[in-house]
Amino acid sequence: MSTLLFERSLPRFAAARVVSSFGSGRGAGVGPLRLIERDAPPVPAADWVHVDPILSGICGSDLATLDGRSSRYFEDIVSFPFVPGHEVVGTLTEDARGAEGGVLPAGSRVVLQPVLGCAARGIEPMCPACQAGNVGNCGSIAFGHIRPGLQTGFCADTGGGWSTSGLVAHSSQLYTVPDALSDADAVTVEPVACAVHAVLGAPITDGDVVAIIGAGTVGLLVTAALSHLAAAGNCATPAVVLVGARYAHQQRLAGELGATEALPSDQLGRAVRRHSRSLSFGGASGVTATLSGGADVVFDCVGSPESIAQSLAMVRPRGTVALVGMPGKVTVDLAPLWHREVRLAGAYAYGTERTPGTDDGVSTFSLALDVAAALQTGRLVSATYPLARFEDAVAHAGAAGRRGAVKIAFDVRKGPIR
């Protein structure tokens, strides 16, 4: 059974960082990722089961890790060596309990909620965040009966999706996949859940101007989540949703998924200005200039210094910038944030969402499954690769936009395609 293993190796980290400077994803061949033969890890405790992955996506955070660009912040909350892959649709090899109760029979198709919170780690009593259902904010991700790891795919004990030998998952991580969803739809459920969480965490009100910077997987799924959740009455309905997308196919997809306007990234500020009927401090050019008003909420789905600066230039005073794309160490002029009293908020993972009409809240993954089914988010899966071609796969993911793609995944299935 083949597995892609990510090992701690400083020379390989360095090599990956150097090579990836020529383009994200190019360093996979010289980096710490190796294809090896290995069996699935043993279950660490009761309520853990084996899952055979079918498809497993390559996420921006995976790329940052493979490129050696990931923040050192994560060093103490991952454990090596680990098998990457936290966007997973797979099948159960045995009966198991699901995250929402009930028994899932062996062979069930499941998606993985990958955060390794208190329940998975056997920690009692659970931390306040987990007690509140906010597993993404779990304070115990380096403790308990498995080694540190914020998610499956970053933990040495659980395995990950980039493997044909399988992984282990705790019952709290398992969500059954309705038949209506294709495998491609299902492998996007995890990033859809991130998008749902970001949208429901943002203070959007009816009639708002919302800007989304970036139209890779994250940006497109935030667009999709926002349009679906607003239509379903789970969040307020913005007046306009403006998406800055670098490539033509991204603009097309953003339009299909609910953007009011999808336009080139360098035009987003102008569109925000026009829709918010704002003035611009930067004269007639108006592209990079700070707006006097601006968007009520900006979702930064890139996480670069440039995108954060762009967010701060187009958000209105007292507006909110939600960082959905994973940032690293950045240098940004925070003067506009201070002067305009902008709220800069992270948006990570998932948990329990408080939507209208739900007293106890609803799990992010349940909502994400609805979004994925309604909008067939599997359309974003542009190509799949076998593990043996991991260098090509990672390179494709690193250049996805330029190559007309969005989501790249590994095809690790043993059974037929659904």
Binding site: E261, Q267, R270, A271, R274, R277, A284
Partner: protein, 529 residues
Amino acid sequence: MSRRPGFVLEVDKSTPPTLFWSGEAFSLETLPEGSRVVYAPEPMKAIEDPYRAIRHALLHPEGDRDPLPALLRPGMKLTICFDDVSLPLPPMEAPDIRQMVIETVLDMAAEAGVDDVQLVAALALHRRMAEEELRHALGDRVYDAFAPHGLLTQHDAEDPDNLLFIGETDQGEEVEINKRAATSDLLVYVNINLVAMDGGHKSVATGLASYRSLRHHHNPQTMRHSKSFMDQPASELHSANWRMGRLIAESGVKIFQIETTLNNDTFPSNFGFLQKREWEWSLRDRASYAATSKALSKVPPRMARQIFHSIRSPHALTSVQAGEVEAVHALTTANVWAQQGVDVEGQTDILTMGLPYICPYNVNSIMNPILVACLGLGYFFNMYRGKPLVREGGVVIMKHPTRPEFHPGHHPSYIDFYEQVLTQTIDPVQMHKEFEESFATDPWYVHLYRTGHAYHGVHPFYMWYWCAHAMAHLGRVIVVGGDPKAVRRLGFSPASSLNDALEIASDVVGPSPTLTHMHNPPIFMSDVH
């Protein structure tokens, strides 16, 4: 030698290649045998003493108007309004005709003891002129006498304190114009009638109006029913302006209209080959063409643009008439036709045109894709009387690089129109309904129009509406040598060469179409029989 009239050449084996403009460049194209090329009449003889002619016109007015000196008296309020930088094209060699007319008017005002005199540039929703442009139009003497004292202003269609609501026409069209002009004892309007569209009641009713007023005729419905807007009796645009102009007159605003026509001597001698018929090119013309083409191909577009925009045209005065608006304009229109009219027998399946570097809205600026469309489908297409040169369902082939470049200071709303409107719709009616008002009332565009040198936020819509008649009439529009993405954004088809364009056109007009080329500039108007 007497002046030769316009000419329709039928291309045969011996016909040399035909000059096509393409922005800041030009090329020679071989047209299929049997094609027609329409050439403008040669320039009319210039009036030898313009000042004398102007003075004569002011002293011998047309229609129900007294001579200008009889209208001037001490203590009166006099406002002299004049056409802006959009006329003439290219800008004429100094002295500009506006300077000559205004100096003469001011001399008469001074003789009559008139102290309260102000000059107003009739911008409508155009950009404000820069100081050097005003100096060029008015001359240093006039500029220095008025501008430092705040007596030379530019019409501000967004200044509520300086607009006066006149009333509504019998068609419900609101008329609101410059308050200073409307409340003067005499409004002298100084016009340049470069094309037949200009002048008449349009001078005041459009040039000094607000958006509230302009929207009644600058819209898709009006433009589709202006066939063409270069032919006043057949132009709904002009009908509306005439209704408004008559209302302005009835309200008591006293207008003394001074209209001028220029000959079509368009380019200075070093570019003389551009207005000659190719088979008459001298050795010097051929050498000039070769040297200019080669030089232009070596310089970046920006530099080529600077070279062309530095051209000053030797345009010369061919007529001046003054007095009551309608009487004056009837004579002016006849004089424009005398210079520009060409009889053409029958329509064509394909109309080709090489679009030059300049149109009324990019003087000292960039010809962006929307202006390319406007120049081709708005202006060139509409240079007819009777019926369009191209038949209904026919094809227009334009040659222009159509780069997606914009002057951010002059055309800020054009950028957003290109990126945010044309990506949604190219239908003039739909964009009028869904987008126009938000652009027209956008506070940033208003700010830039009032304080910078930006066209009004609604202006790109008007340019698009200018194309509405052609868009409804044509089966296809093809742009040769244009940026393919930009061309498609406009709803047109890109072609890499004229031959490719003809191939594409054959899908619409069949394999053996008739073809007519507009050898323009110099400007001409087709009288299509």
